[in-house]
Structures are given as structure tokens and as C-alpha cells.
Subunit: 345 residues, 2 copies
């Protein structure tokens, strides 16, 4: 199996994020995650790990606004040069916004802090010197996997870090800066209809946002109830797309402690929607934080359950790009990814 | 001079706020500010300090959305009961949101953290147990001052804490929860046209928001350039009101290190607008952070300059409510307030 992976992610290693209550916390989405996955893949015997192709920015700009990409490219340098509003008195090694566009404001971000607030939805998308390059290389992994699948591969795995599914058309959030799965899906849509299936524990609000008014890409997310869990503002069952995209988005919010059986029941409904859509290709946003031991989730899905999810996706018989999303129990992450992918191998 | 003041503010004493870069900082807007002002007023000989009248919530609900007031009333108890998404693992004594409504989301805040993000524009409006009561009593001070002026007093001073001018129709931010000056202005508008003049260093975005489509209340704010300073998203010169309110809002952004002469020049333009509007009464959002020594500002206005501002307002000959806003150099705060008010005394 072709596995696309870039070492550039190591330079994206923010010192902290900020949780509700204003608490600094070490970033759960850490470089060690990749080492755990790489180790398990190398053990598997079937992983052909290679760097991504440089496909430029065009596939990214097909999904994200140009002003947002320019912000990401320049944000950290601007932050280093200009600092916060109060300058050196309250210096921080990482760009995290503290003010966000109030309702009914015209939105005229000028200072770097205000631009950060404009292009960011939360305090869990900190930006450091290596963030932009890591995010671009991560997206290149997804595009490389899409190209491999378009060229005839049954499956290709983009070992993406940072992940992508919370990033919207023009905002970052939740460890995500560029929406890797959406970039792959938009690229694949050149050859026909595409379905995106998001199994990360958290709702794929960014993917929902990007394709919400698109008819040619079906997006489905199975996730924790946003009434109680991040991303809170999106991911509800009644959000089904708009305009020509109406009916082309579906959310499956599931309760806390959802185990294998209940998960697979909702998952079966999602697969049925995909079959009815008859896509030419599939992109899977593969978060492993549905696993019972995840520190940011509360589902009870087992490693075996994750393997069964993989087998049922294989049974769809579609050319498939798998893009890595979340999963924060580093001890279990390698085994979960291998369990998921082995049905394809 | 009638001075309205409530001791309830002491229970609003959050342990920290969060600045750009995710840095916890002690709250500049602290109870000591009131003690400094009270001390100077008691020395003045002309201050008649009294508690506010309980005028109920109606004057507040004439300005703020009922759902927002209900949020403020219940937020801290909900936070104590439910905690953050990850519960007791990351407990905090203060409610500060970490996620904000992304663009194009439908806005369905359910969890207390998400509701906080929905009703808050930044990380400088922390909520503790006493916040709601302090904010209501602060607003009652403003209404009491408005009633005194309506009853014939030449001037009345609302010694408001927390301050108010950053609070919009349905959001808090920048140390502000209820917009005291706007509540007083809306109450006074029952007797005729009202002008609100905001001299705080930071743009009065909340007051701008509340009256942006109103013809009967002229709002003017003189402040630091939002291109470089908080509140960043509002306060630009081309924001002049909408609909029937078009032409009834004016912003005067001024550069860093604006001193007495340049300040008074812009201020003169603002006074001319007020004269042309011929209001029945005036409300002044009196922030003292324009003073040269303020830790959150970079203007060079002197204590004597602040006295001159007061004298020129007196020369308008209008019944005037003065509502305290910012001012964070506690050593200078008492002298600056007395300098400003003594022209009225």
C-alpha cells in the first residue's frame, strides 16, 4: 500500500494550546503520533512509505480562499515581527488569537492578532514557525494519494499531520489548518463524483463547510454529539447541505460510550447513502479517537471494531484515499491504524 | 454631585484573563480601581456617593437580547456544574471560552463552553460567581444616574464596575458585560434625543453595535486606531451607522502618542456633531486610559488635558450622565476622574 508521509510535520510542534477556562495544556496533537503510526506500519510488511509529490498550491486553492492561505503563509513571521498588541511585555512563542469578530462587525482584521482571530475558530490551532510548511506538505500527501488512486491504485494512505477536517474554507481550528481530505476529494472530483466519509470522533465541520453547497461531493460525518462535544457549532443531524448541495451532507451524532455494535449500525446507514450516491471514488477522514482509550473522546469502539469499519469500507469496492485525522492515545494509535488499513492491504 | 456606586463589584474579581499568544495575565480591570476613584472622590468635597436604585431588568432588556441576559445570569452556575468538555481533568475557576462560532455555522450553542463562545468576543471577559450581580448593579448605577438627570440634576456620575462600552446587543468582551452607557442612553431617550460620547482609549464597539440602526441616539467614539489596537474589528472611520441610523454614528481613530492638542482637535469635531444633533441629554463613556501613563494605552493625554475635556463637555450645556469605563493606571485613576468631573462640580 502506498503511504505518503512528510517529515516536515516535526517543525509543527506548538508548546501549548488553551482549553475552556483559559487553561494552557500541552498539545495532544503531537509529533509522537506519527512515530507511533510509522512504527506500526513498518512492522506490517505491506506499507510502502514515500514522500509526497510537490503538486504546488493549486489543489489547495481549489478548496481554501486565497486570502486565508496567504494569512497562513505569513502569520508566524508577522507575529514574530509585530507581536501582540502590548508587544514584548506579553510575548509568547506561539500565535493564538484572543479576540474574534463580534456579530455584525464588518470584519476588517489588520493587526496580526486580529487576523488570527478572523481566520481561527478556537484556541487549539496554534501557529509556530513550521506550521505552514507542515500543513502544505500534509495536504501534498493527500493530493499524492488522490493521484495514486486516480492512476489505478485500489487504495492509498495519506499519513497527514497536521490533520485537516476542522479547517473550513477560510479558517483553521482544532489542530487543523488545511483540509487534507477535502483537498483530495476536490482533486478526485475531476474524474467523477466523490464521497467523503469522516469517522473521526469529532464532527468534520470543515469538510461540511467546504462542500456544503456542492452537488458532486457527498460528505458524511459520524461523530460525538456536538451538543456536548467539540466542534459544538456544527455537526447536528439537521444540517444536510444547501442549494444544489441540499441532501449531499449528512451528520450522524452518536452518544457517549457508543460501542462497536451501535457504531456499526450508524455506519451501515452511512455506507448505504454512499452506495446510493454511486461515487467514482471515496475519501476517508480516518480519525482513531473513536477508540475506547482516547483522552479526547468517550466512545467505546475497540481496535477490532476499527478493523471491521475498514473491512466494510473495502466492501464498497471503491478506489479509496485514506487521510489520517485525529487519534490521541499514542499507545493505541499504531495498532488502530494498522487494524483499519489491513483490510485494504 | 450625585455619584452612584455599588459594592457588588467586589465579587467580580476574576483570577486572570488571556492575552494574544495564549498567555494568562492578571486582570487589569480590578476592584482596586474603584477604591482609587472612591478615595479621590471623598477627598474632593463635592461627591455625594450613594447606592443605585433597584430599577429591575427592564432598562437592561431595552438594550440587550433576553437570551444573552439569561446566559449571563446562569453561565457561572452552569460552568461550575458542567465544567469544560473534558470535565474535571482541566478544571478552571473561571469561565473563558475556547471555541467561537465559525463563519457560516448556524450557531447552535448547547454546552456551556459553546454558549460562552457564542456570547463572548474575546478572552478578556472572564465570568466568575459574582459577575452577573456586579454587572447588573453597575448597570443600575447608570440608570440611577439617568433618572437623576431626567429629574433635573445637571450631571450625575455612575461609578460603574464592570465597565460596559465593549458589550454589544448579545455579547460580552473587553471587561464589559452590560453596556451601562447604552442602557442609560436608551432610558434617557424616553425624554428626547440623546448623544453618547465615548472618550475611552478603546473604540466603543458595543455602543456602536447597539445604536447602529437608531436615529434617536447619536453615538461618537474617539479612540486608538483599531487597525493596531483592540477591539480591532470595529471602530473604523467609515462606520457611520446603517438604515435610519445612517450618519448617526461616528468614529475618530487617533494615532499612537496623541497628546492634548491633537486629542482636543478631534474632540472639537465631535462636540460640533453633538451640537448639530441638538440632543436633549448626553451620556459620556468616560475611560481614563487615554492618560499618558496607562498600561493598556499609548496616548499622551495629561491629567490637565482630561480636565479640559471635562470643561468643554460642560460648555455644551447638556444634562449629562457620566459612566465610568476603563483606565488601568491605578496610581493616576483617582486624580484623572476628579480632574474630569471637577468642571461639573
Amino acid at each position: 500500500m502506498k503511504v505518503y508521509y512528510s517529515e516536515a510535520h516535526r517543525e509543527h510542534n506548538p508548546p501549548f494550546e488553551v482549553f475552556e477556562g483559559g487553561i494552557q495544556v500541552p498539545v495532544f496533537e503531537c509529533p509522537e503520533r506519527m512515530d507511533r503510526i510509522l512504527g506500526a506500519l513498518r512492522h506490517s510488511g505491506w506499507a510502502d512509505i514515500m514522500p509526497p509529490e510537490d503538486v504546488g498550491l493549486d489543489p489547495i486553492l481549489a478548496v481554501h480562499n486565497a486570502d486565508y492561505i496567504e494569512y497562513l503563509r505569513t502569520a508566524f513571521d508577522d507575529w514574530q515581527r509585530d507581536g501582540g498588541e502590548l508587544g514584548a511585555r506579553y510575548a509568547s512563542p506561539v500565535l493564538i488569537p484572543a479576540a474574534f469578530p463580534p456579530r455584525r462587525s464588518a470584519g476588517k482584521p489588520r493587526s496580526i492578532g486580529a487576523r488570527a482571530g478572523y481566520y481561527t475558530m478556537d484556541l487549539s490551532a496554534p501557529i509556530v514557525a513550521g506550521t505552514y510548511r507542515a500543513a502544505v506538505e500534509s495536504a501534498q500527501c493527500a493530493v499524492s494519494a488522490a493521484k495514486a488512486v486516480a492512476a489505478g491504485e485500489r487504495v492509498a494512505y495519506a499519513l497527514c499531520r497536521p490533520p485537516g477536517h476542522h479547517a473550513g474554507r477560510d479558517y483553521c481550528g482544532g489542530y487543523c489548518y488545511l483540509n487534507n481530505a477535502s483537498i483530495a476529494a476536490r482533486w478526485l472530483s475531476l474524474i467523477g463524483k466523490v464521497a467523503v466519509l469522516d469517522i473521526d470522533y469529532h464532527a468534520g465541520n470543515g469538510t461540511q463547510d467546504i462542500f456544503y453547497e456542492s452537488a458532486d461531493v457527498l460528505t458524511i460525518s459520524i461523530h460525538a454529539n456536538p451538543a456536548t462535544h467539540y466542534p459544538s457549532f456544527m455537526g447536528y443531524a439537521d444540517e444536510i447541505g444547501e442549494g444544489i448541495g441540499r441532501g449531499r451532507h449528512r451528520n450522524f451524532p452518536l452518544p457517549s460510550h457508543t460501542g462497536d455494535a451501535d457504531y456499526l449500525r450508524a455506519f451501515g446507514e452511512a455506507l448505504e447513502l454512499i452506495r446510493n450516491f454511486s461515487p467514482r471514488a471515496l475519501v476517508v477522514s480516518a480519525g482513531m479517537d473513536i477508540h475506547v482509550g482516547d483522552p479526547l473522546g468517550d466512545f467505546d469502539v475497540t481496535t477490532e471494531g476499527i478493523g471491521e469499519i475498514g473491512r466494510r469500507i473495502v466492501a464498497l469496492g471503491l478506489p479509496t484515499v485514506v487521510a489520517q485525522e485525529g487519534g490521541y492515545n499514542t499507545d493505541a494509535l499504531g495498532a488502530n491504524v494498522v487494524s483499519f488499513l489491513s483490510a485494504f492491504a
